[in-house]
Amino acid sequence: MNGKKQGYYLSLCACVCVCVEPNATIGEIKSMFHKSQGKSLKDEDVLQHLPVGTTATFYFRDLGAQISWVTVFLTEYTGPLVIYLMFYFRVPFIYAPKYDFTTSKHWVVHLACMCHSFHYVKRLLETLFVHRFSHGTMPLRNIFKNCTYYWGFAAWMAYYINHPLYTPPIYGEQQIRLALILFLFCQIGNFSIHIALRNLRPPGSKTRKIPYPTKNPFTWIFLLVSCPNYTYELGSWLGFTLMTQCLPVAFFTVVGFVQMTVWAKGKHRSYLKEFRDYPPLRSPILPFVL
């Protein structure tokens, strides 16, 4: 990069150049290659604005085989949609042959199928049209892990809900109605949060801002919670558990809640780190509690 303009000399050809002492061992050099030098740079950063002198030293990290977030989401969400329907329609080899292609006599089973399917269709549409992802990709092995989780639990839940010997909720219509209201309320809430988060970010950008309540009442929960999308998600699954009165659904809700709490705490911590003026009243996922 010679010429009239003052340029930077970058040592970036086929090799990576690193500053080492003469008495460094090969092992130490290898570990420097893998060492995290603090936070990664962003794709959008401009060389001129980085805190370097006339010589810049870049550390590279091999992330391993990657797959796009969109691909993973579409795959992991399509599975439960299809699998549940297979159990709902009592496809052969699941239940005893005399039940093949029959339908349940309980109307709550039909309702549950509609809710479950609606939930995953919503997620697929959000993946395609709503979410703005910070990272383009994730490690390839995640798709196997995630699909096993979603698909496995979907099959387990669907097996019992659509079983010929399914027992409807004890408190009957009252219980189902309450559960449905909770479920729908939280679906709308979750969607509202996703829209609000999307609107924080101009198209194609990866900026991060503090989310605030908007005119939509479903977003007023931002006053008390950092990650209300997870709060609403928990509520949806509690509703579905109540609606179906099915223990595997309860297990799925608990496991999901644990995972979302871990994510919410992490997100909350990074909000606090990044923004000095972050509202102190907020909890990660459950108002005042967690």
Partner: protein, 244 residues
């Protein structure tokens, strides 16, 4: 779930430049020494019990009954080891330790204790003997390590006997589970059937078969890998070998 965790992967952390691990404090060390001594003694009691019962009866048959109580007590006591890892006074993985201890406790209570008919099987003696020898060596290994005075004989015994004791134990365990199957199926032990108000079912018979299958690919990797890792660590940090 609506959103997932950050997408960057973790690179495998290099073993080359590693901070020296701090050992447990003095109080924790004292507690661990006592724990390991007690466990060594306990399994010695079981060993002696087996020998005496054999000499008294003159046959291998039904020796389980003579050591049933100490076996249950000391094997169940090993659950504390999970706590040791969780609290951090022992630098082993909680998950790995949990897996190993739970599989032992499962066999002791959910199979041998629960299905009376298998208690007189010879396969029970097979795994009890394997466990007894393994544990005596293992707990004395830890005791001596904690006191920084590990006789080479014990270290050698630990890594050598494993190759005989592990297959012996696995065989005994698998045969015992296999022997329990018909009784579990007949009585519906620990099983829940539909219909019920929780819309849940569990077939213990199928669960036992799956357990038997899980012995095949998983445990050898975990066990041999764990021991080889410990061996490498023991060579590099000879003043503080890996603990349980």
């Amino acid at each position: 779930m609506s959103a997932a965790a950050p997408g960057t992967s973790k690179t495998g952390h290099s073993d080359v430049v590693q901070k020296k691990k701090k050992g447990p404090g003095a109080l924790a060390t004292a507690y661990l020494v006592i724990y390991n001594v007690v466990m060594t003694a306990g399994w010695l009691v079981i060993a002696v019990g087996l020998v005496r019962a054999y000499l008294a009866r003159g046959s291998y048959h039904g020796l389980y009954y003579s050591i049933e109580k100490p076996l249950k007590f000391f094997q169940t006591g090993a659950l504390l080891e999970i706590l040791h890892c969780a609290v951090g006074i022992v630098p082993s993985s909680v998950v790995l330790t949990g897996f190993q201890v739970m599989s032992r406790v499962f066999l002791t209570w959910a199979v041998t204790h629960s299905v009376r008919e298998v208690q007189s099987e010879d396969s029970v003696l097979l795994f009890v003997t394997a466990w007894t020898v393994t544990e005596i060596i293992r707990y004395s290994f830890y005791t001596f390590s904690l006191l920084n005075h590990l006789p080479y004989l014990i270290k050698w015994a630990r890594y050598t006997f494993f190759f005989a004791l592990y297959p012996m134990g696995v065989t005994g365990e698998l045969l015992t589970i296999y022997a329990a199957l018909p009784f579990v199926q007949k009585t519906g032990l620990y099983s829940i059937t539909l219909p019920n108000k929780y819309n849940f079912s569990f077939d213990y018979y199928t669960f036992l078969i799956l357990t038997m299958i899980s012995y095949i690919p998983l445990p050898p990797e975990k066990r041999t890998n764990a021991l080889w890792k410990e061996q490498r660590k023991a060579c590099r940090h000879s003043e503080y070998p890996s603990q349980r």
